[in-house]
């Protein structure tokens, strides 16, 4: 379980960082700047959460795996 969670968080970290880079590189019209900023902040929060999950996984404790699993996005129905 820990290995799967670690791999899935590392994958997600890569995706979020690519998304942040793409958002920052994309020019937007002034009217959309607040929405653009909101998206960048949301992605930064997500990156922070993923880093947190990875740090918690490094603790090597099985008893907090349910919490880490619950913090991971799951595929929709």
């Amino acid at each position: 379980m820990r290995t799967i969670l670690r791999e899935s968080n590392l994958d997600l970290l890569g995706e979020v960082e690519r998304l942040i880079a793409a958002l920052k590189a994309t020019p937007v019209v002034p009217e959309l700047v607040p929405y653009h900023d909101h998206m960048v902040h949301a992605c930064a929060d997500l990156r922070e959460q993923v880093c947190h999950n990875l740090r918690d996984l490094e603790l090597g404790r099985d008893d907090i795996l349910p919490e880490i699993l619950s913090e991971n996005p799951t595929p929709g129905p």
Binding site: D56, L59, R61, D63, I64, P66, E67, I68, S70, E71, G76, P77
Partner: protein, 149 residues
Amino acid sequence: MTADWLTFQSFQRNQEVLKAINTLSTHLKLMLSGIADEERTQAADHSVETLRAFLNELEAAACQADRTEPALMLGVDPRFREFVHDYLTARRDHRFRSRLFTGPIGDIKTLLSSNAPNDQEALVECLAELRVLVEEHMSDDVSQILGAI
């Protein structure tokens, strides 16, 4: 307010509650094992306040549901009304065994303030079962949101 918007609101609130559950539960488990977990202390304190507010709302709505028909609960949005219904059904059916589902909700608010290890262990058990119910409710929100899209 449209049903879709209420579902979005419900999803957002459930996400906040779920985050609070996970943060506090992780913090308590580490603390009970003798790990200081200072990095998460501030977030855990914030989680306590989030959960206290949520439990206040759940307690008020559950009291109202005891007195009246669920459909007549005043000041409670339909999605939260469904959550209250699920909570009361889980209590009635003895689906869970933590104090959140076997005793008064007020007891859990007391546990949130306690530093006693026994109380913290009981709180971890309550949080684990509350997480199950919240995740089920969120799953319904996601189905409705994706269905709407």
